[in-house]
């Protein structure tokens, strides 16, 4: 599932120009992280991919089709979306109903719906909460319910807005493993994140945004070592990049294990 923005400009009714001439192509099966300060236009950008917003000027292509010719419901079959605030998304009385809602709308049979719901809740570590009311769960768990609801749709593309916020260490680790698996399955992934350590470990490609523009776009280890550029976008380089640069290395590493391997090589 290929996602594409061509010369997109987006202006809110208030007059604020959130995107000012953006070109971006996310190839099928790519995992792209969008980083940048609050207000850079990241959330506006991803909302174009599922039709929640339509460009003021320019074209949005989802799987080669102009998004203007597709309804939000049609786009929802292609692009799953997990909001930053789960309360924008949750409405059902139980976690089971919440996660079942989308698959039922796809008119799948009940056995398939149940299978998908159980798998999605297992993926996010919430199997035990299936009978609970979403609002009896803490906010970080509600976020995982919203994620499970999107996973159960089996969309070829998935957009995540700040998935790691509020998650504890174990939660972040589980999300990382999930992103790796979805990527290995060939899904197209786009995630907004301020957590650049998470970004470096789990996303191949990074686009840096500021003031409605894309400042840089490329392989994660290359983009995330450009300290001055990141500072311009009000973000800080990942800790492993800071460490590699502090040691004067030219090779960037993406995991602690890779760091240790590189250290062994340097010491030889």
């Amino acid at each position: 599932m290929r996602l594409e923005l061509r010369d997109v400009r987006f202006q809110y009714p208030t007059g604020v120009v959130a995107l000012d001439g953006v070109n971006l192509t996310v190839g099928s099966g790519e995992a792209l992280a969008l980083v940048g300060e609050n207000g850079a236009g990241k959330t506006t950008l991803v909302k174009l991919f599922n039709g929640l917003l339509r460009p003021t000027v320019g074209t949005v292509l989802v799987d080669g089709e102009d998004s203007r010719r597709q309804t939000v419901a049609q786009l929802a079959r292609h692009v799953g979306f997990v909001f930053q605030n789960p309360d924008d998304q949750l409405f059902a009385r139980s976690v089971r109903d919440e996660v079942s809602f989308g698959p039922r709308n796809l008119r799948l049979d009940e056995a398939e719906v149940r299978r998908r719901v159980e798998q999605a809740l297992d993926d996010v570590g919430l199997s035990q909460a299936i009978g609970r009311h979403p609002y009896d769960l803490a906010v970080p768990e509600r976020k995982l319910v919203a994620l499970a609801a999107a996973l159960a749709m089996h969309t070829p593309a998935l957009v995540l807005d700040e998935p790691t916020i509020g998650q504890d260490a174990q939660g972040v680790e589980r999300l990382g493993a999930l992103v790796d698996r979805l990527h290995a399955e060939g899904r197209t992934l786009v995630s907004i994140t301020h957590d650049l350590d998470f970004c470096l470990m789990h996303f191949d490609r990074v686009a840096v945004m500021a003031g409605g523009h894309i400042l840089a776009d490329g392989p994660a280890p290359d983009v995330l070592r450009r300290v001055d550029l990141l500072r311009q976008a009000q973000v800080e380089p990942p800790e492993l990049v800071q460490l590699a640069l502090g040691l004067g290395w030219d090779t960037m590493v993406r995991t602690p294990e890779a760091f240790a391997a590189q250290l062994a090589e340097v010491r030889h």
Binding site: E37, Q84, V139, E141, Q167, D168, L240, L243
Partner: protein
């Protein structure tokens, strides 16, 4: 400034205590971080220090909590509010909904304290400047982004100039620049000795760089209390679910390959890591 002894607390209709025997003493002007897995009791501790427990949440409370000279259990929340401020986890919960602009929202708490109008405006604007929101003073609170609402929640509580400030994940929605700014404001308040600060946070790198002291909660118990480096290095080998910075993880991986000495104390910040590795 804060003394907690034998605190045990159970929410209504739950079996397991959320806090299970907490003893704690915090001096005036300390900046203390609280970490732990979700569900370990961090937010509950915030509520207990500010009187929301037991006054709003009910439940069963044992032990004693003294904050700024008040016995929290015997003092109505409205009396505590002048001395003890709480910034909630979800900033949206904090916005009163009763005021039209950001500036009025910040002044709202001061009106309730009976501050005179001139001082009220000055204190409100000071808090907005400190949190970088002065440019948005005339906007409606409900048009702000999540990050801006979070800064507004901090500003509104700051303006009340409480002697004790408790913040539950105050930077979760903020970008790195906003997080740095928030930590600098908090450190400034603590350094001035006018405010004692307790905050929960998952961002270990920032905590390690800014706080004087770190507490770890695990299943409702206080399992560690000390300097951030010592506490976080210990946490790596414990089942507390606290996590670690990538500096810690990198040196830990190097230690497993015997690239650093066996007994090396794990670093938590960049400078500490570079010192160990050079």
């Amino acid at each position: 400034m804060i003394t907690v002894s034998g605190l045990r607390y159970r929410y209504p209709e739950t079996a397991r205590p959320a806090l299970d025997g907490i003893d704690l003493s915090i001096e005036a002007g300390e900046l203390v971080g609280v970490v732990g897995a979700n569900g370990a009791g961090k937010s509950t501790l915030c509520y207990a220090l500010t009187g929301y427990i037991p006054h709003f949440f009910g439940g069963t409370m044992e032990g004693e909590v003294q904050v700024g000279g008040h016995d929290v259990r015997r003092t109505p929340v409205s009396d505590l509010a002048a001395d003890v401020g709480l910034v909630f986890h979800n900033p949206f919960n904090q916005i009163s909904g009763a005021r039209y602009t950001v500036l009025e929202e910040v002044a709202f708490g001061l009106e309730n304290l009976g501050v005179e109008p001139g001082a009220m405006r000055e204190r409100s604007m000071h808090a907005l400047r400190a949190t970088g929101l002065d440019g948005l003073a005339e906007r409606s609170p409900f048009t702000l982004s999540g990050g801006e609402q979070q800064r507004l929640a901090i500003a509104a509580v700051m303006a009340m100039q409480p002697r004790v400030l408790v913040l539950d994940e105050p930077t979760s929605q903020l970008d790195p620049a906003g997080t740095r700014a928030a930590f600098e404001v908090l450190r400034g308040l603590a350094r001035s000795r006018e405010t004692t600060i307790v905050l929960t946070e998952h961002k270990l790198g920032w905590l390690a760089a800014f706080v004087d002291r770190l507490l770890v909660l695990h299943a409702g118990r206080l399992v560690a209390d000390g300097l951030p480096r010592r506490v976080l290095a210990e946490a790596v080998d414990q089942p507390w679910g606290v996590g670690a910075t990538q500096f810690t993880r990198a040196v830990q991986a190097a230690r497993q390959r015997r690239l650093v000495a066996e007994g090396t104390i794990l670093p938590v910040t960049l400078d500490q890591a570079l010192e160990v590795l050079r």
